[in-house]
Every structure is written in C-alpha cells, then in structure tokens.
C-alpha cells in the first residue's frame, strides 16, 4: 500500500546537537535560498540553477543588495525562492526591467533569470538592446529548448526535428527555421562583457557553471558590461523523458547544436577559480 512516509517538512535541518561535535554540514541550502519547496517538475534543472544563484549571492555577499528579476515561464515564481528583493517582469521584458532597476540603483547587484521562450522568443529585442547598451546586469539564461510552462510548444531554441506540441512531426527548418544560438548571436555586441554556455548535466558541469557564473557576476560588479550564462537544461516533462535520460540527451545531442564554452570574456584580471 502506498502511503505518506514523512509528514514533517524540511525542518530537520539541524542535526542533533550531540552529534554536531564531530559532524559538519558541508552541503546545505544556501542562505539566499528560501525554505519554500520548488514547484518544478521532478528532475527539472530550474531548481539546480536557483541553488547555484543563491550560492553565488552568498559567496559574493550580495544578499543585502541584490534585486532579481523573474521571467514569465516555469520560473515565474522564482521570487518565492530567493531571499533577496525580487521583481516579476512581464514575459520577455526582464532585461528592460533590470535596466530600470540598475540605472536607478547603480550600486545594487541586478540579475535576470530567463527561459528561452522568455529571452529568445518574445524578449529578443530587450536582451539584444540591454547587451548593446552594455547594461551592468547579469543574465541567468535557462535554455531547455521548449516552452515548459505553457505545455511544451516549440521554442526558437528547439532542435531541428524536435517534437513539440506545435511541431508534432518534429521541427522543420523549412517553415520554422533553425535554432537560435543566443551566445553566438550576442557575441557581436560590444556591450557584452561575459558570455558562456554550459550544460547542467553533471557535478563537473555544475562546477564549471559556477566558474562561469562568477565571471558573469564580476562583469557587473567590476563595471565591465553585461554578463550572461546560458545553461542547457532539461525539461523532462515536456521532452517526455525520464530526468536521467534528459541529461544524457543534452550531453549527447543538445550540445551539438549548442556548443558549450566561453564566448566572450572581457574581464580584465581573471581570478583563478
């Protein structure tokens, strides 16, 4: 018979004090992450990327002076998960909202969190112009190749042949074109200070992501320009895959269309990380 196993919520975070003597917590929720359980599907990397952002806010000591901008997309409730001031933008306009905040408060750390529908479809104008103006903002970009929230429609980043609810026979370049590669596209814009892409598919890649994120943040804090880290992320539900399979699919297939790596790095004195 199936039944609930543990009714108490994440309150048992502090282990018994007697044991504290010789046990130290080496991996726990970052301070900047709220206690609220994520609403994401099982195996969705939105949660992972949230955690990494929260880690960075902790690491850079930015909790008290960060303003984050949420997208419209599955991460629409991101404001519930970060312990910093948050603004819910309209779909695609996070870079414009971030511009409004950053210009008003140049000493705050301002980030946007955006999906590929949000950033690469409806919000294309806004991200390009924020990048061209060299807005001192940091963009955390989640490329899962699909519109998750609205039910799995094709995104501009969907792979050729990819089956979605608006391309049931697979994406056809003749009528829908080719996937837009955001890092490649933005790299010609001089206001961009840092651009990188990484799949969130393994502990190693997650660590690479941290390195990239640090630089994208420094692009802002060191007043160089716009920083963006694109993560290749699974949408197991809309892809119709098990979470583990979705990660393998990224590593085997998605990276071919979206090669990982650093595309722009204008940081003057890169710190070894």
């Amino acid at each position: 018979m199936t039944t609930a196993m543990n009714q108490q919520d994440g309150t048992n975070r502090t282990p018994d004090t007697e044991q504290l003597v010789d046990l130290k917590c080496v991996f726990e929720r970052p301070q900047a992450l709220s206690d609220k359980p994520f609403h994401y599907c099982p195996g969705c990397s939105h949660g992972t990327y949230h955690r990494l952002i929260a880690e960075m806010i902790d690491e850079f000591g930015l909790l008290d002076r960060t303003v984050g901008i949420c997208p419209v997309g599955c991460a629409v409730f991101a404001y519930e998960y970060f312990e910093v001031d948050m603004i819910e933008a309209s779909h695609g306009r996070a870079p414009a909202v971030a511009t409004g905040v950053k210009r008003s408060l140049p000493d705050r750390f301002v980030f946007t969190y955006q999906g590929d529908g949000d950033l690469a479809s409806i919000g294309m104008g806004e991200i390009i112009h924020a990048a061209a103006r060299g807005e001192r903002i940091t963009v955390f970009f989640v490329n899962n190749g699909i519109f998750g929230m609205t039910g799995g429609q094709m995104a501009p980043t969907s792979l050729l042949g990819q089956k979605t609810t608006t391309s049931v026979d697979g994406r056809d370049p003749r009528t829908t074109g080719h996937p837009i590669k955001v890092c490649e596209l933005l790299s010609s814009l001089e206001g961009v200070a840092y651009l990188a892409r990484v799949p969130l598919t393994s502990p190693k890649n997650i660590n690479t992501c941290r390195k990239y994120m640090r630089k994208a943040i420094r692009a802002q804090t060191e007043d160089v320009g716009l920083g963006l880290v694109e993560v290749l992320s699974p949408c197991p539900v809309q892809w119709g895959m098990k979470p583990g399979d979705a990660l393998h699919y990224i590593d085997e297939t998605v990276v071919k269309a979206f090669p990982p790596g650093e595309f722009v790095d204008k940081l003057e004195s890169p710190i070894k990380t």
Binding site: V84, E88, A96, V97, G100, R103, S104, G125, H129
Partner: protein, 352 residues
C-alpha cells in the same frame, strides 16, 4: 534661478515640470508630437545626476519604468498614441503591482499610424482600460502650458499617494504651442514619501520585498482586485474640475484639455449671440467628475460635450447625467481642430 514667467513650449514645460516634480528616471522612445520631452530631458536629467535612457521601443520604455518604479524611484515615460498602445500590457502590470509612475500621452490623430496632428482619440484607452483586466490610472488633462508644467509633479504625488500609475493626457496642440508660463529652472526636488515596499535591495531589511502582479489563486486574485477597487473608490476624493460661467448658463459645455479651450471661446461667442453657455472642464479624467457634472447639469437645458474624437468622454458624461438632461455631442477627428465659431453654432442649436 527662481520661478519666472517664460514663453514656453508645452512639451518643454512638461519636461521641466517632470524635473521639478522630482522625476528620477526617464525612459522613452521618440515619437512626434512629443519629441521635445525626451530631447530636453536627455540633457537636463544627466546634468542633475538623474537617469535618462532612450529605450529601444515603447514596450521596453514601460518595462524600464516598471523596474525603476519598483526600485522606489519616480519614473516616467512619454509617448504619443501608437507608442502608448504598445505600453498596454506593461501598464496593466504596473497597475496590478501597484507601482507609482507617470505615463505621458501627447495624443495624435488615429487610429493606426494616423497623423501627427492633435487629437483626443485615446480617452477610452486611458480611462477605461487599454490593457487587460480591471485597473485604472489617475488621468490628468492639462489645458495650457502652465498645467503642462505643473501636472507632472501633481501626477507623481498622486501616484505615490495611491501607488498607481498616473497619466497625463495631452495632445499635439498643447505639446507644440508656446504660452507664457511660470517655470522654475531649478526648483528644489519635492520630498517623496518613503517607499518601504520598494525592491531596492534589502540593505538590512528583515524581509525581502517582492513586486509582483501574479496571484495564481483565484481567491487571492479576487482579493487583490477588491483591494484595487477599494483604492479606486478612495481616489474619488482627488477628482478635479474647473468651471467658467456655469451658474447662469442654460447650456453646459463639457470638454477637457485643448477642447476645453476651444469650447471656452465657443461659449464666449455664444454669449455674444445671446445664448448663455458655461464650461465644465474635467481636470482629472479618472477619477471622473461624475457628481460635479450631474449637479452642474441639473438645472441646464442641454449639455454639449466637445471632444477631438468620435465621442468617448461623452459616455462618462451620459453615465453621470443618467438621462436627466439631454446630452449632445460635437467632435472632430483626425487632427482637425474645430473652430470656436463652429462650437458656438452647436451651442446655439442646442439652445433652440
């Protein structure tokens, strides 16, 4: 330099009025007939350490305003009819998130690309809801260059008081014309109430602030809407209007903005022709002076509404009067400015 009388263009007065009103940030995209607003602000704002950004579009402008307003700043944008139409989604967000800010619409002839000539065809959009959902902005309608200068400060003040967007609904004539107006070149910035809700970085605050217009639970969203509606009710006390020669009038003319000036001349001409006409000018289009119009019209023979449109505000006048007095309408569209003589003719007709 202290305030002094200067021959000033409406758009320039508006720009200087925004500065005097403590505007911290301007975001806008050029469009005729309001281009002097961003042009003046593009050098006057940075000079004062304030923010000017030429946005890539009106969609971006309104969302930059959203961001700066969320950050607790006095933020504004300015545009004209087609550009303002592009802001409707953003405006609905701002209203729902209860952010104070200022949107200026120097209306031009529509619909579509239309023309750059003056018009008042955007009353419905401004007052009823061009965007989706039940929301309102405070809408101010200046009628001379002096008010073009003074209303930004008023708009910011009201917006802050009610945490809502405020709109200045002007038109191409008011934007382009020059008149003597008392303008302060270096007014001290007004004191702005502290915005404890602003998302400006916690900076020691015990809790985070969130600016949001998403309420996924229907009952939650219902309650939020009820809160907004209660606020709109409370706002009614800000209703402003003005009258000329209404006491003895048999014909009441109701008109706003530039139409009110045309109508004022029309009333004067009508009196010369022996018809007692008076003018009621709504200054706030939202909240609309429903009661004042109803009262003022009560003992009149007829009411004539004059607009540069096919008839938009006239609906609110009819709703106010609710059948008690006949309401006529005279409008011109497309940038044609009716002459006072023509208005006088309509008044005289109504009196018969």
């Amino acid at each position: 330099m202290p305030a002094k009388m200067q021959l000033t263009k409406g758009n320039e007065a508006l720009a200087m009025g925004a500065i005097a009103g403590g505007c911290d940030c301007f975001f806008g995209y050029p469009i005729t007939p309001q281009n002097e607003v961003p042009e003046v602000l593009s050098y006057e704002m940075p000079k004062r350490g304030r923010v000017f950004v030429q946005a890539e579009s009106e969609v971006a402008s309104i969302n930059m305003v959203y961001g700066a307003a969320a950050a607790g700043k006095r933020a504004m944008t300015s545009s004209s009819s087609p550009g303002v139409s592009l802001m409707m989604e953003g405006l609905s967000y701002i209203a729902c998130a209860e952010l104070p800010c200022l949107i200026v619409n120097v209306m031009r002839g529509g619909p579509g690309l239309g023309s750059i000539t003056p018009s008042q065809g955007d009353y419905f959009q401004a007052c009823k809801g061009g965007g989706h959902g039940d929301y309102h902005s405070i809408v101010l309608a200046p009628w001379n260059v002096q008010e073009m200068y003074e209303f930004p400060a008023l708009a910011f003040e009201l917006a802050d008081r009610y945490r809502c967007p405020a709109m200045i609904l002007a038109d191409g004539v008011l934007g382009a014309m020059m008149e003597p107006a008392i303008i302060a070149d270096n007014a001290p910035p007004p004191t702005v109430p502290e915005k404890t809700w602003a998302t400006n970085g916690r900076n020691g605050r015990a809790h985070k602030n969130v600016v949001n217009s998403l309420v996924i639970d229907p009952y939650g969203l219902r309650d939020h809407n009820l809160k907004l509606q209660a606020k709109y009710k409370k706002m009614q006390c800000e209703t402003r209007w003005d009258t000329r020669d209404v006491d003895d009038a048999e014909i009441l003319v109701v008109a706003y903005g530039i139409s009110a000036r045309l109508a004022l001349s029309g009333c004067k001409l009508a009196r010369k022709e022996g018809v007692k006409a008076g003018l009621l000018r709504p200054i706030t289009l939202y909240p609309f002076p429903t009661e004042p119009i109803a009262e003022c019209a009560a003992n009149k023979k007829r009411v004539l509404v004059v607009e540069l449109s096919a008839g938009q505000m006239v609906e609110d006048v009819r709703l106010a009067i609710n059948g008690r007095v006949p309401v006529d309408f005279y409008g011109e569209m497309g940038g044609v400015i009716p002459s006072p003589v023509e208005i006088c003719r309509k008044i005289v007709e109504a009196a018969q």
